[in-house]
Amino acid sequence: MIRMVWAAVAAVFIGVAAQAEEIKLAVTTSFHNSGLSDVLLPQILADTGLEVQLLVVGTGQAIRLGEAGDVDAILVHSRSAEDAFVAAGFGTHRREIMYNDFVLIGPKADAGAVAGAQNAAEALTRIAEAEAVFVSRGDDSGTHKKELALWAAAGKGPESFGAWYRAVGAGMGAALNTAAGMDAYILADRASWLNFANKGNLTLLFAGDPVLFNQYAYLPVNPELHPHVKAEAAEALEAWLTSDTAAGLINGYRIGGETLFTFNAGE
C-alpha cells in the first residue's frame, strides 16, 4: 500500500513536454475573456505548428512585458501606447488586425438617463451630473485609457470627481463583478460584456458612437534589442493573423447571435 502511494507520488513528478514550437504572446484581458482565443489558438496550431502561449494581462503590463523582452509579441488596443512602443524601438512595427467596440453598461434603472444620450461624451456627462456610481478599471489598461480619453472629450477629469467614481484597479472581469455588486455604470468592451456570466442587475445602455471603436494591433518585439525572441515564429503568427483563414474565424465568431470582432488587417 505504502509503496503504491510512493509510486503515485513519483508519477506526479514525471511530466511529458509538448513538442510544438512555443511562442509567448501577451494579450489583453478583453481579448481573452471574449473567448475568441479559444477559437483561434487550435487553428493556429493546426496551420502553423505554433503553440501560442497567452499571457493575459492589461495593456500596460503587456507593453512592459514586451519592453523587457519577456514575450515574443503583443496584441493590444491602445494606439498611443503602441506608437510609443514602436517609436522607442521595442517593437519592429505595428499591424492592425481587427476591432471591436466599447459599450456603456449600467443599472437597469438608469438614474443618469444614459440610454437617451446622443454620443459617448454626452452619456458620460450625464453620469457625472447625476453623480451615479461609476466603476473605472483604473489599471492603465487599454480600456482604462479609452475611458480617460472619453472623460477628456466630455471636458472632465477623474481628479475632480467625488466618491461616486470608483477606480478598482482590476481586470475587465473583476471590474464587471464589482459594478454588478454596486449597481454601477462601467465602460466595457462588448466581447467581455457578452461573455460575462454574472450580469446581475446590469444592462447595456449605450453603444454605437464611432469613438467607441477599439482597434487591436499586433506588435512583434524587436529582435535587435532582445536577440532571444522568436522573430520567425512571430512573423509566421502575424502572417496567419492577417490571413483569410483568420478573417473567416474572426468575422464568424458570434456570441448570442452578435458579431464581436471585425477583421480589418490591411494588405
Binding site: V56, A68, D70, M172, F196, N198
Partner: protein, 234 residues
C-alpha cells in the same frame, strides 16, 4: 447561497467526468507546490534546527527577522522574482520566467521562512529536553542537529504541511511569475482567479472545492506514509 450549491455541483461533475483539463491543472498544482516544499524543507529544516542548537551573536535578531518573514506578501515576492528572472533582469539569460520552475522558486521564497520558524519553535523545546544528554555524550554540532531532526520528525511533518498549505493556496506570486498560461503554467488557484474574472462563480467555486480536497488528500497521504497517529505511537 445558491452559488455555493452550484459550486458543489460543478466540483462534483468535474470530478466524476474525469475532466482532462482539471487533471492537468491539479497535477501541475501538486507538482509545483510539492517541489517547492521539498526544496524549502531541505533549506529550512536544518536551518531551523541549527538556530535552536547554536548560540551566536544576533541570534535573537535572526530569529525575529525569520519570524517576520513568515508574513512576506506573496505578490511582492512574485514581483521581485519576476524582476530577477525577467529577460532584462540579472537572471534573464536562464529564460525561466513564465515556467513552472519560476513558480517553484517564488513558492520556495514564500514558505522557507514559515517552515524554518515552525521547525525552530519545535526544536527549541526538544533541545531543552535533549541538551544535557547530547552534551554529555560529547556529540558534534552536526550529530546534535541530526538527532533532533530525527526525533522531532513529527513536528517537522507539521511544518512541511503548513508550508505546503501556504504554497498550494497561493495565487499572488505565481500569477506574476507564471503568467497563468493555459497548458503551461495554469494551476488551480490561478484558474480560480481567471474564472472569477469571467464571472463564472460556479466553476470557480468548483475548482476551489477540488483544491481543498487536494490539500486534505496530501495531508492524509503524508500521515499514512510517515505512519503517525497509530496506536502506541502517539
Amino acid at each position: 447561497m445558491n452559488d455555493i450549491t452550484e459550486g458543489l455541483r460543478a466540483a462534483f461533475w468535474l470530478l466524476v467526468s474525469f475532466d482532462a483539463e482539471l487533471w492537468e491543472i491539479s497535477l501541475r498544482s501538486l507538482k509545483v507546490s510539492l517541489s517547492a516544499v521539498v526544496i524549502a524543507c531541505a533549506i529550512a529544516v536544518p536551518l531551523g534546527t541549527w538556530l535552536a542548537v547554536q548560540r551566536f551573536a544576533f541570534r535573537r535578531t535572526v530569529i525575529a527577522v525569520m519570524n517576520a518573514l513568515m508574513g512576506l506578501p506573496p505578490v511582492v515576492v512574485g514581483l521581485m522574482v519576476y524582476i530577477l528572472l525577467s529577460r532584462s533582469g540579472p537572471f534573464g539569460v536562464l529564460g525561466l520566467l513564465f515556467t513552472p520552475t519560476a513558480m517553484v522558486i517564488a513558492q520556495v521564497v514564500i514558505i522557507t521562512p514559515l517552515i524554518a520558524s515552525i521547525t525552530h519553535q519545535a526544536m527549541r523545546e526538544l533541545w531543552a529536553e535533549y541538551h544535557d544528554l547530547l552534551i554529555s555524550l560529547n556529540t558534534s554540532k552536526w550529530q546534535r542537529v541530526r538527532t533532533l531532526m530525527w526525533d522531532g520528525r513529527r513536528a517537522l511533518l507539521t511544518a512541511a504541511l503548513a508550508g505546503f498549505g501556504r504554497a498550494i493556496g497561493e495565487v499572488g506570486a505565481i500569477m506574476v511569475v507564471g503568467g497563468n498560461i493555459d497548458h503551461a503554467t495554469r494551476v488551480l488557484t490561478t484558474a480560480i482567479a481567471l474564472e472569477t474574472g469571467k464571472g463564472d462563480f460556479a466553476l470557480a467555486l468548483g475548482l476551489g472545492f477540488v483544491l481543498i480536497g487536494l490539500a486534505v488528500c496530501v495531508s492524509l497521504v503524508t500521515h499514512a506514509l510517515s505512519q503517525t497517529e497509530r496506536r502506541g505511537r502517539w
